[in-house]
């Protein structure tokens, strides 16, 4: 089931309030709903004041790393000597994640408003919204919204442009995205320098995720204290979060809940649980780049940055992938490794070779030709792929492999010992 779904009574609808309302996509419809009031308000404030409010709210980046947004904005030079830029990350390509697409499809002006407020706060005159090439529908919705808002002159001196990607997961990495805007191959850059010092076109730049920016107008409107109050468990995780749930649940889709919401309730209550006759086997709680949890860990996990870490994984982008008891974990882990092998930009040896070999070894195991030593080899490879490369794509490939072997070793052993029928041909 997709959108529009009627919000579940346990959802806290802030960002998703107007999902499904076609009228909210138009400039007029957005203004009717109170849209752009907070932008006007922000433009009348000192940039530093806006940053303080966002800092105070506890908002953290929704793109995956969870970095405090206000703090990130404060890294930009206070005294402006060069042009400043804002980049908006709408590359959404992390398997399991499909929330930014929904924000852009239904509430394009929420993103534009949040982006313009952020641009003002960091003193940027230009913002680029980088939308992945495959998002044809969000692109046209955003294009129309931008031209209507431009015509109404709401952005003042801030100029917002859309930039279309062309098929590359890696362009979601912040510096790869900047290279891609510059008309280059999307290779991540070595850091430092960090974007606040030298980002797109070598100028001070801030980059934020779509969902992060869409939350900003709400924070200005209802106050930092309100946002901070939206927290069910750890006080370090505030606000609401859109969780994209996919895989083996009865009602996949986007669900907006307050930080700290129990994962178990999200899956069994909001999403209707597993298909009849099936039980939960495993769950990846934050997009494919984070470690896999087993059933017990999943059912006792609280959905905030700290809660998921406590169970051995990460909140990441909030893409919740659910696997029931019919799942061949070895096959799915191979499929994820293949994703990373396909998407590696190939700059770093550990990543280029590691993702490819990890995939090959897993395929070999699935073809019934695995050796006992292969598991150690996989773990050794993963070790060499973690913390040693320019960006963390390499680490992301190791995450499902290491956590998968740890939690579902029996399934690997079954293939290797010949107790399970090969599902691939060598």
């Amino acid at each position: 089931m997709g959108y529009p779904h009627k919000p579940h009574s346990r959802e806290t609808v802030v960002l998703s309030k107007y999902f499904g309302e076609a009228d909210a996509r138009s400039y007029k419809g957005w203004v009717k709903r109170g849209g752009y009031e907070m932008l006007r308000h922000a433009l009348s404030m000192e940039p530093a004041k806006v940053i303080d409010i966002v800092k105070e709210s506890g908002l953290r980046g929704r793109g995956g790393a969870g970095f405090p947004t206000g703090l990130k904005w404060s890294f930009m030079p206070k005294e402006k000597k060069k042009p400043h830029y804002l980049c908006v990350n709408a590359d959404e390509s992390e398997p399991g994640t499909f929330k930014d697409r929904e924000i852009m499809r239904w509430t394009p002006h929420a993103l534009l408003e949040g982006a313009a407020i952020a641009a003002h706060a960091i003193q940027a005159e230009v913002a680029y919204i980088y939308i992945r090439g495959e998002f044809t529908e969000p692109w046209s919705v955003m294009e129309k919204a931008l031209s209507e808002a431009d015509a109404a002159g709401v952005f003042g001196t801030i100029k917002i442009h859309l930039h279309r990607g062309a098929g590359a997961y890696i362009c979601g990495e912040e510096t790869a995205l900047m290279n891609s805007i510059e008309g280059k191959r999307g290779n991540p850059r070595i850091k430092p320098p960090f974007p606040a010092a030298a980002g797109v076109f070598g100028m001070p730049t801030t980059i934020n995720n779509v969902e992060t920016l869409a939350a900003v107008p709400h924070i200005l409107k209802n106050g930092a204290a309100w946002y901070k109050g939206l927290s069910l468990a750890s006080p370090k995780s505030t606000g609401t979060k859109l969780f994209s749930v996919c895989g083996h649940v009865q009602r996949p889709g986007n669900y907006e809940v307050t930080m700290g919401f129990p994962l178990k309730d999200l899956l069994y209550d909001l999403c209707g649980g597993m298909r009849p006759g099936h039980t939960l086997k495993a769950c990846i709680p934050g997009g494919s780049s984070v470690p896999i949890l087993n059933r017990d860990e999943t059912e006792s996990c609280l959905l905030d940055y700290e809660g998921v870490v406590e169970k051995g994984s990460m909140l990441g982008s909030g893409g919740v992938i659910v696997f029931d008891d019919s799942t061949d974990m070895v096959y799915q882990i191979m499929r994820l490794a293949r994703f990373y092998a396909h998407e590696s930009c190939a700059q770093c040896t550990q990543c280029r070779e590691g993702t490819a070999w990890t995939t090959k070894i897993l395929e070999r195991i699935l073809a019934g030709q695995g050796k006992t030593a292969d598991l150690d080899l996989l773990l050794d490879l993963s070790d060499n792929m973690t913390g040693k490369t320019i960006c963390v794509l390499s680490d992301s490939c190791a995450a499902p492999v290491v956590s998968g072997i740890k939690r579902f070793k029996q399934e690997f052993d079954d293939y290797i010992a010949g107790r399970r029928k090969p599902v691939m041909v060598a």
């Binding site: 997709g2 042009p83 959404e92 390509s93 992390e94 398997p95 399991g96 994640t97 499909f98 930014d100 697409r101 992945r132 090439g133 495959e134 998002f135 044809t136 529908e137 100029k159 442009h161 930039h163 279309r164 990607g165 062309a166 098929g167 590359a168 997961y169 891609s180 805007i181 510059e182 008309g183 280059k184 191959r185 999307g186 076109f201 994209s244 749930v245 996919c246 895989g247 083996h248 996949p252 889709g253 986007n254 494919s288 893409g319 992938i321 696997f323 799942t327 799915q332 499929r335 994820l336 994703f339 396909h342 998407e343 930009c345």
Partner: protein, 173 residues
Amino acid sequence: MSGDAYPAAPSGIEEYQPVFTGAALEQLQEVFTRYPTKQAALLPALWMVQRARGWISDRNMAEAAEVLGLTPAYVKGVVTFYTMYHQHPVGRHFVQVCTTSPCNVCGAEAVVQALLEATGAKELGATSPDGKWTVTEVECLGACGFATPVLVDDDFLESVTPEKVPELVKRYT
């Protein structure tokens, strides 16, 4: 048998057409105003080429290089980095099916098979003998809750199942 022949638009023999003339050139000039460098207009320019011609030939890469003040080799380096740019002609309808894990567990592989059969493309990446269809497998399309998403040209279709495929294919013929 004519079915053995290479599909309708054989690569290489098709006549080269420059893209950046007239209105297209004006449009590109407008794109230049969005960025502090001309080079930054490369991805938008390549999209314009692909929209106009269906694919991006070496000569069109050279043309883009010329207009942007880059070298053909540089442009080719960029084109080859991004999977959505076609370096060869493809069928009139280009189909991309997500088969990454979340969609895989929801039956994406069966959707691919159904598409290969219904379109007559038979093999991934190949074009059907009538020149109409090219079917490819791609990684996550960012719509995992709507398994299986399928992109037909610019139409983003959600929740495609093998049963829906024949009807879907008919819509495009």
